[in-house]
């Protein structure tokens, strides 16, 4: 943002070019034509782009819902159950939004689950909770977000400036963050006793649980960040072609770092949601969360090689998995069967994605 803000306006060089090369056309006509083509191309892009790309996901979600209604009837198709599904989706959803940015930027973060555990433990230690009781429960919120952000910063700095491969760096963070969480908590479950925190986080907003509202807000914010801001555009550029992005003047190292900080903060938020849902902080929170998040992002159509991806796709990915496990639970299927189904969905989604990618390259 800051390094590119030079004075806008048409410079002398441009006019020079127009005079020599361009056909000097009637400006009014050009403007009109421009406005027209903008409307058509933009509208067309929305229809064929966002909708067309996600139609497979919509169909998949509908199929799962149909199966749910057929096998569980009213137990599935009820408002209560819908809320249950969304609550289930909310924590992994928040992390997946952050993960979408990391994967679009060409990286991967295996440490999200461990960071969630560490943040949940750190925000619920005796010391933190004592301080929170003396002042405000916001202390816990601050600690969780700061711990998440700090872990992301360590990941980001070592990946971007230390040239450690993201897979290895975040694998190391996965091990050490959860280890640190175990050390701090002495492997005990820490119960949340700050009343203010419990009151706020268990509240409903217009009948909708706060966790679901947070997921919705994070999804909307993520969409805006990716599609409407310089941050999002740079993320796409860095993931699409890091060398070209660097030579175009983007500070690729700084941007990469910021992306990992972003996912770290998302993990801090997810830790708070764990504290709210379970009323405990624990070093076992978020176990295997990284796999769920990566799976949701990937079936949502984000390329693991970076440069392309959507928030809408990720949200669908999260909903597909949480609806699927809801249907399995309602039918008293064990989690093992569920895991097999999950694996199948991932493989099918990736196969479809590759086919689409090949088609777009050959045209």
């Amino acid at each position: 943002m800051s390094e590119h803000s030079t004075t806008p306006g048409t410079g002398p060089d441009l006019t020079g070019v127009e005079n020599t090369v361009g056909p000097t056309s009637d400006t009014v006509k050009v403007e009109q034509a421009a406005a027209e083509s903008e409307r058509t191309s933009h509208g067309g892009g929305l229809m064929s782009g966002a909708f067309g790309r996600n139609i497979g996901l919509v169909v998949a979600l509908l199929v799962i819902c149909v199966v749910g209604v057929a096998t569980a009837g009213d137990r599935f198709a009820s408002v209560d159950n819908l809320v249950t599904i969304l609550r289930l989706a909310s924590i992994v959803g928040v992390v997946s939004i952050g993960m979408t940015f990391v994967i679009i930027s060409g990286g991967i973060d295996l440490s999200v689950g461990a960071i969630v555990a560490l943040a949940s433990v750190w925000a619920s230690t005796y010391a933190t909770q004592n301080m929170a009781e003396d002042t405000s429960w916001l202390v816990m919120v601050f600690v969780a977000l700061a711990v998440g952000g700090a872990c992301g910063l360590v990941n980001g700095v070592l990946i971007a400036y230390g040239n450690v491969v993201p897979f290895i760096m975040t694998l190391a963070m996965l091990a050490s963050a959860r280890g640190l969480a175990e050390i701090i908590s002495e492997r005990r479950t820490q119960i949340v006793r700050v009343e203010g925190f419990k009151d706020f986080w268990s509240a409903d907003v217009l009948g909708i649980p706060l966790l679901v509202v947070i997921f919705a807000l994070v999804a909307v914010a993520g969409w805006l960040l990716l599609n409407r801001t310089t941050f999002g555009r740079r993320t796409l550029a860095v993931g699409g072609n890091p060398e070209a992005a660097r030579l175009a003047g983007i500070n690729v190292k700084r941007h990469t770092t910021l992306v990992y900080v972003l996912v770290g903060v998302c993990c801090g938020l997810a830790a708070l949601m764990y504290l709210a849902r379970t009323s405990t902080g624990s070093s076992t929170h978020g176990t295997l969360l990284e796999l769920d998040a990566i799976a949701a992002v990937v079936i949502g159509g984000t390329l693991l090689t970076g440069g392309r991806g959507t928030i809408v796709g990720t949200v669908f990915g999260v909903l597909i998995f949480s609806t699927l496990s809801n249907v399995f639970v309602l039918n008293n299927q064990d989690s093992s069967t569920q895991a097999v189904a999950k694996g199948l969905i991932i493989v099918v989604a990736v196969l479809l994605q590759q086919r689409l990618a090949r088609r777009s390259v050959s045209t």
Binding site: M1, E3, H4, G11, P12, G16, V21, S41, T230, A237
Partner: protein
């Protein structure tokens, strides 16, 4: 090949192409970017299946179902992007896919011996068969590709712009190899944008335009260059360089000043001053350090010594961000891998260096981005029009215009152009030259690096000749001719 038709979704890439190649001849394939040359050779090598038409091999119709089938017949193709495995040795690459083995155990000794024999036949016995391919120069890698083609008893060799990565000496060597091969009866299909090369080695020419054959079997000797260009373009001009302004005569203030720049093992003691409104050309062989010099000026490499100043202000070493902030712009040598975000829209490729201008509190005004991009693409005549198209779908010349548009929008003070017309067809070249000159006339300081001496001399006001990492000559472009430049760059390096 008779009446070959190939359709892609929405595009008719080839609409009835005929091509006949005789044993022992060099058949040149000419055409602008997007004329269908690459598609045609992919059909020939069976990477693509034609929708209509037939391929006759020694008079018999053949169906080439897979690339392996084509290879078995004796058709080998060397693509622009070399398809070698960097981690394997030279010999392993040469025999990749048809390894010499007995009972599944590879015969390393025999493989290396035969590879050495093939390399010697190509006049490159200095390349060790056990060397890792990733450590070779692009030119040497190309020799390995040719050796691979020879190792499979090739009867028809297709070369797609083989000279693009080579300097003059290496090109001469390539031509010698081609002459040897044709003497043995191997037919060559040769694709190049360089007409002078075709003059030198071609026997007959087929011209493609918009996916169809416009002329086939023209004898090289009897076809004037002007006629070829006319066939390719419908125009009758070769390179037209725009007239120089008065920049060379009127003294202006220096914009870019480089002194004592050094990158160990690559170049040293480079001094370079570019004034406002001036175009400075860097000539030299591939590998002489030209690209490295401007990449270092741009901050993409960190020098060990030397200072870069823009308008008198010293730049932080090795920082692209600082360089861009100070008003530098670079159109890099490898357009696709270094310059463009291929899977993104034209407009976001153009605004990527000026994003801050279109943002309020980090939020982008995409309507404004499109509007400004459209103004610039229209002034540069980027075809097809429309800024929402993916850059991947544009031809080389139009992709280069998108890179130029990026820096036009930024109104940079110094523009560094590395091989601005590589892979660009004749028509678009002239347009790019005009744009570059117009930019200089508006006060931008420009540095052009090019392997084509003619281009450097025609476009630049002042020429620097680089040899082995040192500037060996500096002077006005009008006071030096092509043969003198070649003298300077070859001197000493031939021994």
């Amino acid at each position: 090949m008779r009446g070959i038709v190939k359709r892609f979704p929405g595009v008719l890439a080839l609409g009835g192409v005929d091509l006949d190649v005789r044993p022992g001849e060099v058949h040149c394939l000419l055409g602008q970017n997007g004329a269908g040359k690459s598609t045609l050779i992919k059909v020939l090598s069976a990477s693509y299946q034609p929708d209509e038409g037939e391929i006759l091999w020694e008079g018999e119709p053949v169906a080439l179902g897979t690339p392996q089938a084509a290879m078995k017949l004796g058709i080998s193709t060397i693509y622009q992007e070399l398809d070698l495995v960097p981690g394997l040795s030279v010999a392993e690459n040469i025999f990749l896919g048809h390894e010499l083995s007995s009972a599944g155990v590879s015969q390393r000794g025999r493989t290396n011996r035969e590879a050495a024999a093939l390399l010697a036949r190509l006049g490159h016995s200095e390349i060790s068969p056990t060397r890792e391919v990733g450590r070779l120069t692009p030119a040497a890698q190309q020799v390995v590709s040719m050796a691979r083609a020879l190792s499979q008893n090739t009867r028809l060799l297709v070369l797609d712009e083989p000279s693009a990565v080579l300097d003059q000496g290496e090109v001469d060597n390539l031509f010698r190899v081609i002459a040897d091969l044709t003497a043995e009866g191997v037919a060559i299909v040769y694709i190049s944008h360089r007409l002078e090369e075709i003059r030198q080695i071609g026997d007959r020419i087929t011209v493609l335009k918009d996916g169809s054959t416009v002329a086939t079997g023209l004898a090289v000797a009897d076809t004037p260059t002007a006629e070829l260009i006319k066939l390719m373009t419908g125009r009758s001009i070769e390179y037209v360089f725009p007239p120089r302004g008065d920049a060379a005569t009127t003294p202006r203030e220096p914009v870019l000043e480089v002194s004592g720049l050094e990158l160990p093992g690559v170049f040293s003691g480079v001094d370079l001053t570019v004034h406002a409104g001036e175009i400075v050309g860097l000539a030299g062989l591939v590998g002489a350090g030209r690209s490295e010099i401007i990449e270092t000026v741009y901050g993409a490499r960190r020098p060990t010594a030397g200072v870069v100043r823009v308008n008198g202000k010293e730049l932080r070493r090795g920082s692209v961000t600082a360089a861009v902030k100070a008003g530098l712009g670079l159109a890099p040598e490898e357009r696709k891998s270094q310059g463009l975000l291929l899977d993104q829209a034209i407009y976001s490729n153009i605004t990527v260096s000026t994003m801050g201008r279109f943002a309020r509190l980090g939020f982008l005004d995409r309507g404004e981005e499109r509007r400004r991009s459209r103004e610039i693409t229209e002034s540069l005549d980027v075809r097809p029009a429309g800024v929402d198209r993916l850059v991947r779908l544009l031809s080389g010349g139009n992709q280069q215009k998108v890179v130029l548009a990026r820096w036009l929008l930024r109104e940079c003070k110094v523009l560094l152009l590395d091989e601005p017309t590589r892979g660009v067809d004749v028509g678009a070249r002239a347009e790019i030259y005009t744009v570059v000159r117009a930019l200089a006339d508006s006060g931008v300081a420009i540095v052009v690096v090019s392997s084509e001496v003619e281009e450097v001399l025609g476009l630049a006001d002042r020429v620097l000749v680089v040899r082995e990492g040192r500037v060996v000559h500096e002077g006005p472009a009008t006071e030096i001719d092509e043969s003198r430049v070649l003298d300077l760059v070859m001197e000493g390096s031939a021994a």
